[in-house]
Symmetry: C2
Subunit: 169 residues, 2 copies
Amino acid sequence: MMQLPIEYLTPEAFAPFGEVISTDTARDTYKINQGTTTRFHDISRVDVGDEGGAPIISIFRGTPRPKPIEIKMMERHPLGSQAFIPLAGQKFLIVVASGTETPKPEDLRAFLSDGTQGVTYAKNVWHHPLLVLEEDSDFLIVDRTGPGNNLNEVELPLVDGEVITLDWA
Amino acid sequence: MMQLPIEYLTPEAFAPFGEVISTDTARDTYKINQGTTTRFHDISRVDVGDEGGAPIISIFRGTPRPKPIEIKMMERHPLGSQAFIPLAGQKFLIVVASGTETPKPEDLRAFLSDGTQGVTYAKNVWHHPLLVLEEDSDFLIVDRTGPGNNLNEVELPLVDGEVITLDWA
């Protein structure tokens, strides 16, 4: 049985897949609003303009999957980035894969957000659909609307006849 | 002394100024991710493309101002919308003004978000800088980067020699 190790989410580890969204990852930080507000500026780019796309804001409300979580498929958005930001400081899991071919089991990486961190999946990066740890787990989403096919899905191969899983204590 | 009444934030009341961001204001709602996720789809548009602008994600961390809050100035962004979403379900205050001229006191409206609601200020809508009710109050911001001047600020006139204020029990 292949069980994916879960890594802590850091900007460096996640760099091949996109950007970590947190106050630690701002390109610049400064005071605004008569000194009452700190702007953590330009944390993540929204890259959705290909083929007439436009950025939109949505909310995803997730439900946990049974443990161990079975990683049977991945998806990607060839026309745009997609950002996920937890709306209640809740932790969540992230599974991504490097490369543009159908992911091989050894391409997969799993990360745990500490709840202060969101992520932007870069355009065309394979990722698993939302994996939450709590009931009614809300996330703000910034992604793309517009013409064209912006979703590819792929089934993952079995490893020694078994599904890849994600588990934790 | 002119004290602004504080209204509950509703999509209808806020329509002249922009959009309310909540699960109630999605243009469409449907299940995704093998039925594990509800997508509250296309809640708010991000309108930042004028003059070569691009969307970016930032975080604002606000500090409360002394009560009663003095509403002495307003600002607007002539080249792009600006969205504010509370990251810990916290309530916050919003002051906006109708029209494109320097706001008159009677043009001002104040709203209270219930904490599940964010707002998008439409392009060129006068609004007061962030007004928070708690220490270290974090908001996700989706606004514009790019060339051009995207900030106008204006001082508000006194009313009978006094500053306009915002107060509550």
